[in-house]
Point group: C2
Chain length 103, copies 2
DNA sequence: TGGCTACTTGACAAAATAGCCAAATATTCT
DNA sequence: AGAATATTTGGCTATTTTGTCAAGTAGCCA
């Protein structure tokens, strides 16, 4: 059971970085190579590569080499739903805060 | 949009620790006071309190003081589903690995 | 009031993480 | 083979996180 919590924490820790979330959001539209993702987040290529290896180690993405490129894609089926759900929750919170400031 | 990713990362980062996940799993059955949760994870009370404040800051749990106790409970509606889903994914992976070693 | 229990906060050391640069690897093209 | 492109890895520093102990706050009961 504790082994489960460790692995689960591993997944969440991997999800816990803005750049990684930006990349994952992009991957919702389909696979992307590292250079695509680098262009998206604007960090050093080596940094992007390390972020991707964190996601891969957690089993959130898969990679496949084709030619000189390596393409990453989502593997954790339920991720999309939860990403969408937390986004909604956050939007609701932001809206609530904005409303509070209004008065 | 990036503000969303920041807030989202904040939530995931908060979820990314085994002790916090153990406590959250316990909270699925209903609210618990800090001492209950401390007994569960077996860390110093101050450490448990800090873990809980991380969860609270991320908006994952709510707290309510009643008498000398403070009771924490889940607030992020979609969390349960995702916790269950990642658990399943991990179990599947562990099973697959076990099967691989069998041969 | 004083003492007890429940919890939080501050200070601090140890470990993990994020970012960059430079170097290594692998594949394709000439 | 040699050059060019795409990606990973190692080394390094700065920052963040985790955990403990000690001290502080708050509610309850004698």
């Amino acid at each position: 059971m504790n082994q489960i919590r460790e692995a689960q924490a591993h997944i969440f820790k991997a999800l816990g970085h803005p750049s990684r979330l930006i990349m994952l959001a992009a991957l919702r539209d389909g696979e992307k190579c590292v250079c695509d993702l680098q262009a998206l987040v604007g960090l050093d290529m080596s940094t992007v590569s390390k972020h991707l290896s964190v996601l891969h180690a957690a089993g959130i993405v898969d990679k496949e080499k084709r030619g000189t490129n390596i393409y990453y894609r989502l593997t954790l089926c339920c991720l999309e739903t939860f990403l969408a759900c937390t986004e909604d929750a956050i939007r609701r919170r932001l809206a609530a805060k904005a409303k509070l400031l209004e008065d």
